[in-house]
């Protein structure tokens, strides 16, 4: 395990201490608990937006707390959900009477805890809480039947949901409206990833799985969940096309659509490669007559030090487009 860390059991605590030191203008914490991160710039009367999840995905989740995006984030141990109590503490801190919307990824532990936190907020604190669960990874399961709960994992595409909902809340829209927008963004985003190397949870000390020296795993999840196929590494253009084929046909995205695209590095993959993929996406979508409104390129949701890339596509309408264009200022995302 090649990591610049101290004791593995202090990994998350020390990372959080560093974060608060570096971004005092944007974030702070509540309930005397470093894991209960909240904005340093609370706006009265605004719907509070909270997320949460395991560590190991920086800048996800906490990096999107700030102006124009989220108001709070409860932070778990690496790849582990934070507790309902921590979520409740964040909820209490960010509510200013307009209610709170939870937006988080589709993982069992997170769902159970956010549900419990929502009940506690209602029963114990009389705070109205609604929830939107994002599941954008087309590789993780087939599309769900109408009315059925999605079984897809939430991955990098949640960034778009944060951005749209954050801008909506910033416009002082009411809770139900912000939820509608978050759901609309979530319903219109699809993601797929490819991994080249595994990642190591610091407390475990060795990779949780392995990928052959000249192999890749298409569709692998951000905790190393199995993908849809593994095989020899192929040229970037070919990998990109395979991922886009899956993404495009799933929603589907069709000629005449306008989209935002997120090209996301999973941790160890240089920006150069992300731009090589960006180039191909642009060619591919142009051929399908799908117009790219804007590319976002960089590390937005990682899997510790996994090498790999994911592509997320958000289908825009006038409403989502305007929300995507709104300004935002968080530790990791500025626009």
């Amino acid at each position: 395990m090649k990591k610049i860390i101290n004791k593995p059991e202090n990994y998350v605590k020390e990372m959080l201490e560093g974060l608060y030191i570096a971004h005092p203008d944007l974030i702070t914490y509540t309930a005397d608990d470093l894991h209960c991160l909240v904005t340093a710039n609370k706006r009265e009367g605004k719907v509070g937006l909270a997320t949460g999840g395991g560590s190991g995905h920086l800048p996800l989740f906490l990096g999107y707390v700030g102006k124009g995006m989220l108001d709070g984030c409860s932070v778990g141990d690496v790849f582990q959900s934070p507790s309902a109590e921590q979520m409740l503490a964040v909820t209490k801190a960010i509510d200013s009477g307009a209610g709170v919307l939870y937006i988080y990824g589709n993982y069992n532990g997170d769902i159970f805890n956010f549900d419990m936190a929502a009940e506690m907020a209602d029963f114990e604190e009389n705070i109205q809480v609604l929830s939107v669960v994002a599941g954008d990874d087309v590789a993780s399961a087939g599309p769900s039947a109408p009315g059925e709960k999605s079984t897809r994992r939430g991955v990098a595409g949640i960034f778009f949901v944060f951005k749209c909902a954050g801008a909506a809340a910033d416009k002082m829209l009411p809770l139900e409206e912000v939820k509608r927008i978050a759901e609309k963004a979530a319903a219109n985003v699809r993601t797929m990833g490819v991994a080249l190397t595994p990642c190591t949870v610091p407390r475990v000390g060795k990779p949780g799985f392995s990928i052959g020296e000249d192999e890749m795993e298409i569709g692998m999840g951000i905790h190393g969940e199995a993908g849809i196929r593994h095989g020899k590494i192929e040229p970037a253009d070919q990998i990109t096309d395979e991922m886009l084929d899956k993404i495009i046909t799933d929603l589907p995205y069709t000629a005449g659509n306008e989209v935002d695209v997120l090209v996301n590095g999973l941790g160890a993959t240089p920006l150069d490669e992300q731009y090589i993929v960006t180039r191909r996406i642009s060619m591919y979508l142009a051929e399908k007559n799908i117009k790219v409104h804007r590319f976002y390129v960089g590390e937005y949701a990682t899997a510790i030090e996994m090498a790999g890339i994911s592509i997320s596509v958000l289908k825009l309408d006038a409403e989502l487009k305007a929300l995507m264009e709104a300004p935002a200022c968080t530790p990791f995302f500025r626009q």
């Binding site: 959900s81 507790s83 309902a84 532990g109 159970f112 805890n113 419990m116 949780g208």
Partner: protein, 207 residues
């Protein structure tokens, strides 16, 4: 039986999870991420510690407090589910200071309900429910038959064990195990093992 019994039950639950820590780690390592032994021993310890010296006599409140402590200590899948079980049992038994076999059947029934409401799994989905549900059914039958507590607990423990042993027939549809598809079928479910251990501890608490 008063709150003293409930606290003893919580102590026995804690003890059995500590004793079987490695067994649960081993089961979860095959199917999941291997943390179940740690989360269950830490979680039941936190539950017991939170109430062992309580002044409260309200059994419902005690169970609810134990659950909350557990949810804070171990916010993992099973940690939160077990916490939800205790908290729902607490709500149902709120105001009770003495329990009979019927109350205990209700306690575990409410626990099962709490887990099911939180996790939204169905019977046969290869989860904790498939271990606990047969035990609760057995307890209810025993209560109806006015069996002795010890006899009822013995039957329940047996039913839970059978339920657990039966999980290697089932297809996993929740959590990490589900990502294995058909391959998951031949494996025993670690969460159902926790149900079996709970019923063993319950049996011990009434002997």
């Amino acid at each position: 039986m008063d709150k003293g019994y409930i606290i003893k039950l919580l102590e026995n639950l804690k003890d059995i999870m500590m004793t079987n820590k490695d067994y649960l780690i081993q089961l979860d390592s095959v199917v999941g991420d291997g943390d179940l032994g740690l989360t269950m021993s830490d979680g039941f310890l936190a539950a017991y510690n939170a109430v062992k010296d309580t002044d409260d006599n309200d059994i419902g409140k005690i169970l609810y407090a134990a659950g909350k402590a557990m949810s804070t200590a171990v916010p993992s899948t099973m940690g939160t589910l077990m916490a939800s079980g205790f908290m729902n049992a607490g709500k149902v038994l709120k105001g009770t200071t003495e329990v009979t076999l019927t109350d205990i059947a209700n306690l575990f029934d409410a626990y099962l309900e709490g887990v099911a409401a939180r996790g939204k799994a169905k019977l046969g989905d290869k989860t904790f429910l498939d271990g606990l549900a047969p035990a609760v059914a057995s307890l209810k039958a025993s209560a109806k038959n006015q069996d002795t507590l010890e006899h009822a607990a013995s039957d329940a423990a047996y039913a839970a064990e059978e339920g657990f042993m039966h999980t290697n027939q089932l297809l996993a549809v929740h959590g990490r195990a589900a990502t294995r598809g058909e391959e998951s079928r031949k494996l025993l479910d670690p969460g159902a093992a926790v149900a079996m251990l709970m019923m063993k501890a319950f049996h011990k608490s009434v002997r």
